[in-house]
């Protein structure tokens, strides 16, 4: 739990990594679609980004000490909301997309208000059941969700500016890529601010010692619900983007195994950081899974995936995530001299 909470960084990264380097890095990421037109690479990256957003949502809920086993249900909710609004009701894409996250968030809020009275493992199980229920409803409420046939969600319409087609989602994957980058950036920004702000402190109190926090005036449920709702909103957006990217949503798309995938990404990536950890985790694990699915020995892929995760978890020092390793690398190797501080005890 040592790395659970950080408000005060002993080393301020802004001073360590020159701003130009960060800027260059961001520009490089933004230029990826210019360098490569490879559909497979781009769609893997897009998927990675989508799962990263979902993993961030899981991490945020975990920040309040609650272990959600139903995060993929919110992806499904967002995805279905957007698909139903566009394909079934014929509404335009952008408003539907905006609404989709809100629908998912609203349901998270309602569920959270009822369920978060019960914390801990019961919350986990109830969210697990919630995931199943969402799947079952999607399967059986045929007039709305078309059951197991699924809904075809078309690509976002081209953005036309001044009679000139600016962005066409059907022509290439680059628009999706930037869409994903925007979603990740907005989610990352919001979550980063949450982590740095008063809310982050309160969340940490709620997670680390609920009883103590409650006796210091923190209304636990309020903050648990806030985290769950915010996570629900952004996970919903991730689900909506997922749906419009695959252009289909069926009840089989999101289930317990997807929730477990989200959870593993988040925790292996490192929960010490609200944004970096999930991103690192999803980049590594999604691409590992993607690579492994090319092996043609059945069973080998899931065997290797499981083993790699177990080994990574075993060898992470003090149970810190991968992102903390990077942090340590900066601390111990690169900026050893600057770490000097007389009162700093050895870890």
């Amino acid at each position: 739990m040592r790395y659970f909470f950080k408000t005060i960084h002993l080393i301020d990264y802004k001073n360590i990594v020159p701003k130009t380097v960060i800027g260059l890095f961001i520009i490089l990421i933004l230029l990826i679609p210019v360098f490569t037109r490879n559909v497979v690479t781009l769609s893997t990256l897009i998927m990675t980004g989508i799962w990263a957003v979902a993993a961030m949502g899981f991490t945020l809920v975990l920040r309040t000490g609650q272990f959600s086993l139903g995060q993929s249900a919110f992806m499904a909710l967002g995805g279905y909301a957007s698909a139903i609004l566009t394909a079934q009701m014929g509404l335009p894409f952008w408003p539907s997309f905006l609404v989709s996250g809100l629908v998912s968030g609203l349901i998270a809020l309602l569920v959270g208000m009822v369920v978060l009275r019960v914390g801990g493992i019961y919350f986990s199980i109830i969210t697990l059941a919630l995931g199943e229920i969402v799947r079952i409803i999607a399967l059986q409420w045929e007039p709305l969700t078309r059951g197991s046939r699924g809904i075809i969600a078309s690509a976002p319409p081209p953005i036309i500016l001044g009679g000139h087609e600016l962005v066409n989602f059907n022509a290439s994957l680059a628009p999706y890529f930037y869409f994903m980058i925007c979603l990740v950036a907005v989610t990352g920004l919001v979550f980063w601010r949450i982590g740095e702000s008063r809310l982050g402190r309160t969340f940490a109190g709620t997670a680390l010692n609920p009883v103590l926090a409650e006796h210091q005036g923190i209304y636990l449920m309020k903050y648990r619900v806030i985290a769950f709702t915010v996570a629900g909103v952004f996970t919903g957006y991730a689900g909506a983007l997922y749906t419009h990217f695959l252009q289909v949503i069926t009840p089989m798309v999101f289930g317990l195994w997807q929730s477990i995938q989200i959870m593993i990404m988040s925790i292996v990536g490192g929960i010490g950081s609200l944004v970096g950890g999930p991103i690192v985790g999803s980049i590594l694990l999604y691409n590992l899974g993607e690579y492994l699915s090319r092996l043609d020995t059945p069973g080998l892929q899931s065997f290797l995936f499981g083993s790699v995760v177990v080994i990574v978890v075993m060898f992470l020092p003090q149970g810190a995530g991968l992102v903390n390793l990077w942090e340590r690398f900066w601390n111990k190797v690169v900026w050893r001299e600057e770490e000097y501080e007389p009162d700093e005890p050895e870890d």
């Binding site: 739990m1 975990l62 272990f67 009822v114 369920v115 009275r117 019960v118 493992i121 019961y122 199980i125 109830i126 697990l128 059941a129 919630l130 199943e132 229920i133 079952i136 409803i137 059986q140 317990l256 477990i260 959870m263 593993i264 925790i267 292996v268 929960i271 020995t297 059945p298 069973g299 080998l300 892929q301 899931s302 065997f303 290797l304 995936f305 499981g306 083993s307 995760v309 177990v310 978890v313 075993m314 992470l316 003090q318 149970g319």
Partner: protein, 283 residues
């Protein structure tokens, strides 16, 4: 009142959930972690008994014990080499979840993912006129009774059992009285895994065997534990009974909507009694 056959089938289902849930609760109350791989140990138990009876020609009852022994060993290895080396509940949880994939993958590699069956064991149906019951189901019910009685005896009348109960209730005090929590947790992990494997083994004649059969029982056992009350052994048994029976009986009345009702009911139980039916009250 649904026909007796449904009740028997429901009871058979309950037995599997009960045995699994019992092992999971035992592990949880001593180690303080949920072992998510329980379902996969169940699956491996079924495979062991399948191969020991078909390939090696070992009698079925001995095959069950063998499955229990082997999986107890594997459980202890998992505890010693994986769980003990990881700090933090969260990370242990992730590791056991990842083990699900690893074990299912390993089983697919070793045994291929084809369906197998052991229906040749104890074939035949006892037809009592009003109700028909197959010998395999009787075996399951009798086996579960034996296991539960044995567990009751072990927990109440042996040194190990008393130590287990002591540690479950007061870990710190128990360690002060010279109970080695370390050794005890290995024993408990062994027993828990053996129970899962034996549940898989006794069920092998009734259901198809493939590397993925562990998923449903694991989730059901988990739900059984939670509605029964986490940490309560009685709760695990009652939870298993409720899930097994209810699922069958509800399905008889409303067919496929039973799933919705079942999950709704679980949520309802947890909202009314968050600590589960037999869980200790929080305040």
């Amino acid at each position: 009142m649904p026909p007796a056959e449904i009740l028997i089938e429901g009871l058979t289902q309950s037995c599997i959930y009960m045995t699994m849930a019992f092992g999971m609760v035992l592990v949880f109350s001593i180690l303080g972690i949920l072992n998510w791989t329980h379902g996969q140990l169940f699956m491996l138990g079924a495979f062991i008994v399948f191969y020991s009876t078909t390939a090696a020609g070992i009698p079925f009852p001995i095959g069950i014990l063998l499955a229990g022994l082997v999986m107890a060993g594997i459980g202890i290895l998992i505890k010693k080499f994986i769980i003990d080396r990881i700090k933090g509940e969260l990370y242990i949880g992730v590791a056991t979840l990842a083990l699900i994939f690893a074990l299912e993958g390993a089983a697919s590699l070793l045994f291929t993912s084809d369906d197998r069956g052991l229906a040749i064991i104890l074939p035949g149906v006892l037809n009592l006129g009003v109700v028909a019951i197959s010998y395999q189901k009787m075996a399951v019910i009798i086996f579960t009774l034996i296991v539960m009685t044995a567990m009751y005896f072990v927990l109440n009348h042996t040194k190990v059992g008393l130590a287990i109960r002591a540690v479950a209730q007061q870990p710190v005090a128990a360690s002060l009285y010279g109970i080695s929590t370390e050794r005890l947790s290995l024993i408990v992990m062994g027993i828990g895994c053996a129970l899962a494997a034996m549940a898989g083994a006794i069920m092998a004649p009734l259901y198809p065997i493939n590397p993925f059969i562990g998923r449903t029982p694991m989730i059901m056992a988990l739900l059984a534990i939670v509605i029964g009350g986490l940490g309560s052994l009685t709760g695990a048994i009652v939870g298993g009974l409720i899930l097994g029976f209810l699922h069958s009986v509800i399905a008889y009345y409303i067919s496929y909507l039973s799933e919705v009702v079942l999950f709704g009911l679980i949520i309802l139980i947890l909202l009314v009694r968050p600590q589960g039916l037999f869980g200790a009250s929080a305040k």
